[in-house]
């Protein structure tokens, strides 16, 4: 019944047969595992919903001893170990879906969120718009067909490191905008021609990330960029957003609206590096905050906070012999089109160094040139990864104020 519910739901919500089967298998494996480890009197709740471009299945269950280690990219199961074989289902499940998150669920249990995205065709190489200069323009929220033209144009005119992977699939961007996940603005001339566009989305409760501005056939210094940017800022000015970031800044990004957070270097397949400045704009007057810090990160943090005039109290995390979990967990987001992997800590543990090395070795095999690690300074235990990161060849590059629970530090491997 469980698999039939998920499969029918997935097909009804627009996943193709392959996607629906993958999601169903993932749910089946997790459901079976939870049934084995949970007591019979405790139910497992499964909810399925559509978010336009993906199907979300949420599984909640009141179990306490859930081995999240299996969600490490490096997890392997020994065929000799019977308990481990029982857990193999979880490992399989994590590879069948696009995203899998484990969070605290109701009644102190767990909540597993499985995301399977719809399949979309890639953008045509042929542009369906002939860029031309617009002297007079107005800003509009682009309709789906215009949005498809815009994303196709961005792909044709800008290098892949200046737009998100989703832009390769215009239909997906349309669904993201229609579903409220992305917002888009376009500058159009009196005849309807598009002079430029800007898109943005919420990356966390406090931070909005923008992409662009992208200009099509406009002379240098066109007023379109500034108008798009001010409209975006105006749109989020009275929202909960504390910060607006641009991590893939085009040349047209009006620098006067932003602060320079530092640079990240993006390497192509041949190893040629392009330095990309990370830009930030604070949306409110800064009320001050504290940042958890490992002593080895302190000099970097103090220099960045000093340079940015950020009012921060630094609190140190120290190991005073308390019992630690033996195993750490990391999540990895891989973007092959950008040759990029971003690691985020899910849980700290005594094996942080080994786990990190294991992940790096796997990513190396995948020939990914750009490896980042994002640490949230609002979550004390995350800073325990500082020493293993520095030992593994990462260096702190950028502080994103209020990027997570607190400020975020982006580390880059070998740059």
């Amino acid at each position: 019944m469980c698999t039939s519910f998920v499969e029918h739901g997935a097909l009804a919500f627009g996943l193709d047969e392959r996607g629906a089967t993958a999601l169903t298998l993932a749910v089946e494996e997790i459901f079976s595992y939870l049934c084995r480890i949970s007591s019979p009197d405790r139910g497992v709740t499964i909810r399925s919903s559509s978010r336009r471009y993906y199907n979300l299945v949420e599984i909640s269950c009141p179990v306490k001893d859930f081995d999240m280690r299996l969600f490490n990219l490096t997890a392997r199961v020994s065929a000799e170990d019977e308990t481990a074989l029982e857990q193999m289902g979880l490992l399989i499940a994590s590879r069948f879906v696009d995203r899998l998150n484990v969070t605290q669920g109701p009644d102190n249990g767990i909540l597993l969120s499985l995301v399977k995205e719809k399949s979309y065709p890639e953008a045509d190489q042929i542009m369906t718009m002939h860029p031309k200069e617009v002297s007079r323009f107005s800003l509009i929220r682009p309709q789906p067909e215009l949005l498809k033209i815009i994303t196709t144009a961005v792909k044709a005119l800008y290098p892949p490191y200046l737009f998100p992977k989703a832009f390769l699939y215009p239909g997906k961007v349309v669904d993201m905008v229609e579903g409220g996940e992305y917002e888009a603005l376009a500058a159009t001339g009196p005849d309807g021609s598009v002079g430029g566009a800007l898109l943005w989305h919420w990356v966390s409760e406090k931070t909005v990330e923008c992409f662009g501005p992208y200009l099509f056939g406009q002379a240098k210094g066109s007023a379109i960029s500034g108008e798009l940017m001010e409209a975006c800022i105006g749109a989020i000015a009275k929202s909960p957003a504390l910060g607006l970031v641009s991590l893939l800044p085009t040349d047209e990004l009006p620098r006067e609206h932003f602060e320079d957070l530092g640079t990240l270097t993006l390497f192509d397949e041949k190893g040629n590096g392009t330095a990309l400045t990370a830009y930030f704009r604070q949306m409110h007057e800064d009320p001050g905050a504290y940042s958890w810090c490992h002593p080895e990160l302190e000099p970097f943090l103090r220099s960045q906070y000093g340079r940015l005039a950020m009012p921060r109290e630094i609190l140190f995390v120290r190991d005073l012999g308390e019992t630690k979990s033996p195993f750490s967990v990391l999540s990895v987001n891989i973007e092959r089109s950008g040759n990029k992997a971003t690691i985020r800590p899910v849980r700290s543990g005594k094996d942080m160094q080994e786990n990190l090395i294991g992940h790096l070795s796997l990513l190396k095999k995948e020939s990914l040139k750009n490896v980042f690690f994002v640490m949230d300074l609002g979550i004390p235990w995350q800073t325990e990864f500082t020493h293993p990161l520095l030992q593994s060849g990462f260096s702190p590059r950028v502080v994103v104020p209020y990027g997570g629970e607190g400020d975020q530090v982006i580390f880059q491997l070998g740059a």
Partner: protein, 375 residues
């Protein structure tokens, strides 16, 4: 005990609403930003403080009087205001700052599906109160930094109950002349309540500036807001008021929270109305400060919007929120304008000359740190 089911309990319009987080107390800010002094140029306060008669009231307030409830409807103050403006005492309602009387008016006239009309870049409280009360706030873009009368008239529909006009506008300092206001009121013709926020009325010296108090007889749909926070420097005591026709005020009174204005505020406010010199002194200080700032900003080649009121808005070649932090490290508190939808603008309270000189000095130092402005 189960956690409250907030998802079910909280109305959608409250879920969407972002609470306003006020600044931390000055001492906390000084610690955070590592500065020894703090010049407050962010809230349009009057650095001269309350008029002498009000100071005497504050100094002489007997502690035992704190145990007695205040007049629930600011009885003596309303009579004094009536005498001053030649109106009836029942034409006034006194509130805990002008913010409270904004709430009274919106509650009195709006119900589900109704809307208010105001400008997109003006005092934010009209928009906030409407939205967290579940009503639509229709925001008309400013035109040349001023309220766009034609645009507002076009935006009105049959569910529009209130039109808010901030005159002079905070933060741009622009204003509607008497002629323009009368034309607008004639077109509205009683279909909506027009609220004229005159929080900065006492600062304006222009001859064509309208006095809302003098228009109520001809326009019974007009409601005027005034405050004791700005010119009279009683911001810390929270007291403001509205005036309108008796019929309209009688409706608003039904939503009014009585006893919300404390005794000291009522007595100090009453005393301010005796003093004429205070306004003259304050206006002179603002005039000198404005002349100085305009001259210095011109020298620094920065564009600014300088109109009426005790404030001035200027555009920086950098993010205003970054500028806020940089000014704070130098002990100067300015208002960043992103929240007013004026990105890269800051608003400065026009204060005494020492503060204005300190501001310009800090501004020059901050600009000099910018890579493309270094000599």
């Amino acid at each position: 005990m189960h956690a409250p089911q907030l998802d079910r309990l909280v109305p959608e319009y409250i879920k969407r609403f972002e609470p306003y987080i006020p600044s931390k107390p000055d001492n906390e800010l000084k610690k955070l930003y590592g500065c020894k002094r703090l010049l407050r140029l962010n809230n349009n306060e009057n650095p001269l403080g309350p008029p002498p008669a009000a100071r005497d009231v504050i100094d002489g307030f007997p502690p035992p009087a704190a145990s007695v409830y205040p007049s629930g409807d600011a009885y003596y103050l309303r009579y004094k205001l009536a005498e001053k403006f030649g109106l009836h005492p029942d034409q006034f309602l006194v509130g805990n700052g002008a913010n409270e009387v904004i709430t009274f008016v919106i509650k009195a006239f709006c119900q589900e599906g109704d809307n208010i009309v105001t400008a997109d870049k003006t005092f934010a409280v009209y928009e906030w109160v409407a939205e967290f009360s579940g009503f639509d706030a229709r925001l008309v873009p400013l035109k040349d930094f001023g309220f766009d009368d034609a645009g507002m008239l076009r935006t009105i529909d049959n569910r529009t109950k209130l039109i808010f006009v901030c005159n002079p506008n905070n933060p741009t300092g622009t204003y509607w002349s008497r002629e323009k206001l009368l034309r607008f009121l004639d077109v509205v013709d009683g279909r909506q309540i027009v609220v004229l926020d005159e929080a900065y009325f006492e600062f304006v010296e222009k001859e064509d500036f309208p006095d809302g108090m003098a228009l109520m007889e001809s326009y019974p749909n007009l409601v005027v807001f005034r405050t004791f926070s700005k010119m009279y420097a009683l911001a810390g005591l929270r007291i403001g008021y509205l005036a309108g026709s008796r019929e309209v005020v009688d409706i608003i009174r039904r939503t009014c929270v009585v006893y919300s204005v404390n005794s000291l505020a009522q007595q100090a406010a009453l005393a301010t109305l005796e003093d004429g010199e205070h306004i003259t002194r304050t206006r002179r200080m603002v005039r000198e400060g404005r002349n100085f700032l305009e001259r210095e900003l011109g020298r620094l080649e920065l564009s600014f919007v300088s109109g009426e009121g005790n404030y001035l808005m200027l555009r920086l070649p950098m993010s205003d929120t970054l500028a806020y932090r940089k000014f704070m490290t130098r002990g100067i508190m300015i208002r960043s304008m992103t929240g007013f939808r004026f990105p890269n603008y800051i608003r400065i309270t026009i204060s005494h000359m020492e503060a204005m000189e300190a501001f310009i000095e800090a501004l020059e130092a901050i600009l000099a740190e910018m890579p493309d402005r270094r000599p």
